[in-house]
Symmetry: C2
Subunit: 458 residues, 2 copies
């Protein structure tokens, strides 16, 4: 926290490009006075949270644009600093013109994330909340939005605080022993300590494990649809995309790679890998298209292996393949999906328990169940509404470090290690938890890395 | 003005896409109450021009986003209506989410230009000022910005008002005659009337003629560089672009067609046509490349014909060509530019007066003069700072109609037409001027056409 610069900074806060209006944000000591030098009235004595119509003026007093200036006093703004927001006409020309004018007056163009960084350094947000701001802006699905919003609201921070408090309690007990160390007395009730550590460890592990879900929610879940020709991959794809084409594709200005189709089910984005391949009509003759499927499976988290229920040869082959796939990729969800269930061959009826799902892509029967299954696989036993989901790799890393330290402490308790070693591990666990919120000093380089991922103007 | 709907409308007012923040504008009767239904506090009794931090809430009371709500009372907003502006986190997802929430509450998505249309219908802006809003947002150069800004500030409107007042004075005098028509008396001093009409006509003609400049400023000036191979077209292009590459190309998010290079000189955009052709190294052998030049010349307003001063054969040929071009295209500026002036052949020294410009694209000598010449050609004898420049084709059309009516009135005065015919022409002139500002009822279809060109959210 050695970067406490308060010089006025400015940046375009709204999306780049032309709009009806654009907002330029100015923050730092003396912002009101600085803007007033180029404004048609003096803003310095006007109260916080008020809006003033006026003209931005050039060096010669020429009128540059009519703007609305919104004032925020020190301690009452997003950054915690004195701030002015200028809503101007939304041409890129005017945006540049006003930023140039502010630069003339000594206002520096903000670095990426610098406003949020200042909000953190001024104690307006803790570090995990600041990171949630970036996630919130980037959120493209309901669940991603939900996870970021809850993190911004501080639920994660307060849970971490509770865990830290439990550890502080532990540390207090164990360090009491240290003071009397030479007397070789065990003041603390080791049974209670064991329970406490086990409880905290369980919660930390669950938080760390939620990262798999959090990451899936944040970045979408890659799904591959594989299977032999004529098993109905293309029909299934169309059924899935029919109603649930991702909301992002409907929003102007959102750029998307065209190599994937995005499916939004219950607010979770599923990215269907290499659908172009599926759509091709000239498929290879090779029975399962294994060669080509291999790469898609590598990229996927969930693999839908389609088999044709009307074809018992295909059934036998696919079942064997899926069994080997499951062994090969224990970290992926491999689903054996029986398609054309309405035309099922009599010979394979009894073996249908081997299927994860039965459906008919053509009639749509079973598609709802497939979607529900996809969502269930991603969510696991987590409840996104009521439970904290970790979606940031930095947080997961710190949680894993915390868990490792707690495991050492636990071993120590059972192995009758001396209290000073146990205390060291507990302190390490607390330090790791503190890193997440920035309560414990975070390295300037790490701060730099966190905020440089933000967009300019935030 | 039969479209006086005041139902609440909403739209994204900032550029589409992701930004740190986005602003959603709500305007119409009961906007504060409407937003309050989905806001964490009641905004209805709070004063105009104040800003309030709070949460936008879903139908179930779930928190959608933390926003800043800015309030504007009836008569004090851009539209003249009660308005609320919501500054939310800038993800496209949140933008959609909040717009959907407002729609649930009965707020209609605004049509393009509907906010500005309401500002016009509520008398906050006249029609030419409303049109200036769209121009201001689209402005990409200093001069285009200047022209739009002055129109928005109402200079054009007040000039039109003065002209109308002069015509009202005229009409009053001439209509006095009508009342005493049967007595065949000429009350009005016909000499004074002739002077008055001549004066107004001169001003209207100058305004109408300024459209050529206004249009050039608004849309850029197409410039063609033509000439035989090796006359230095490519070198000149690089000299011109070297320092003055258009500011728009540096702004993220601005999309540009790549078929033209844009040059910004003294705030005017010059669009260099088909520069790709110039950059090609394999030029046709044909001496002047006339075939290929023809198309470029058709598209251009200014044509720079380069000749090689070190080559007297090229000089003779080019001079003849330019002479024919000037005859063929009296509406274009055709400049004979003598390049490689530092290597000038002795034989053509005496004929150098035939050139519009002398320069050396290689050394850069004369390039500043060329730029000054380009600017001078565009500006003509107009002064953009101190004079009204018409940049809207609708305004020009109305001015030309005004001029035609005034010319008929003038003819009538000299031809001793009866006063009732003259009065009719004067009334027509006033009506046409009134159309520009919308003082005279403008057809709903025309209003629709004007505002449909706006972006959504303005």
């Amino acid at each position: 926290m050695n970067d406490l610069s308060t010089d006025p900074i400015c940046a375009l806060a709204t999306a780049s490009g032309m709009g009806a209006i654009a907002v330029i944000r100015v923050s730092g000591k003396g912002s009101k006075a600085l803007v007033s030098k180029a404004f048609s009235k003096d803003l310095t004595a006007l109260p916080s949270h008020t809006v003033h119509l006026g003209w931005m003026l050039g060096a010669n007093g020429d009128r540059l644009d009519e703007v609305l200036a919104t004032l925020f006093d020190h301690g009452k703004s997003f950054t915690g600093e004195e701030s002015v927001e200028l809503a101007c006409h939304g041409s890129t020309f005017i945006q540049q013109l006003l930023l140039q004018r502010l630069a003339e007056l000594g206002c520096r163009l903000a670095e990426p994330g610098e406003f949020t960084k200042r909000a953190f350094l001024n104690g307006r947000l803790d570090l995990s909340q600041a990171e949630a701001v970036a996630d919130l802006i980037a959120a493209q699905s309901k669940q991603a939005h939900q996870v970021a919003l809850q993190q911004l609201r501080g639920r994660f921070s307060s849970e971490l605080q509770q865990l830290r408090e439990q550890l502080i309690q532990f540390a207090a007990l164990i360090e009491l022993e240290l003071d009397f160390g030479e007397e070789d007395v065990e003041f603390a009730d080791r049974t209670a300590l064991k329970l406490l550590v086990a409880e905290v460890l369980k919660m930390v592990r669950r938080l760390a494990a939620s990262f798999e879900l959090g990451n899936a929610i944040k970045n979408g879940v890659p799904v591959a649809i594989v299977g032999a020709p004529n098993t109905g991959k293309s029909t299934l794809l169309n059924q899935l995309l029919g109603e649930d084409r991702a909301i992002v594709s409907d929003i102007a200005g959102t750029t998307r790679d065209v190599i994937e189709e995005v499916l939004n089910i219950e607010g979770i984005q599923f990215r269907l890998i290499d659908t172009a391949g599926i759509r091709e009509t000239t498929e290879t003759i090779e029975a399962l298209g294994i060669e080509r499927s291999q790469q898609k499976i590598e990229q996927a988290k969930i693999v839908l292996c389609l088999t044709d229920a009307s074809d018992s040869a295909n059934f036998t082959e696919t079942t064997a393949w899926v069994t080997s796939l499951k062994t090969l990729h224990p970290d992926k969800y491999i689903l054996l999906v029986q398609n054309k269930a309405d035309l099922k061959a009599a010979s394979i009826n009894e073996a249908s328990t081997a299927f994860d799902l039965q459906m008919s892509a053509l009639t749509g029967n079973g598609v709802a169940e497939l979607k529900a299954k996809l969502v269930a696989l991603v969510l696991g036993d987590y409840n996104v509404q009521d439970e904290t989901i970790v979606s940031n790799a930095r947080h997961q890393a710190a949680l894993l470090q915390t868990a490792a330290a707690l495991e050492r402490a636990q071993e120590g308790l059972y192995g009758h290690t001396t209290a000073d070693f146990i205390a060291m591990d507990i302190r390490e666990a607390m330090r790791q938890l503190g890193h997440i919120t920035g309560q414990i000093d975070v390295d300037t380089d790490i701060l730099g890395a966190i905020f440089s991922k933000f967009c300019i103007g935030k």
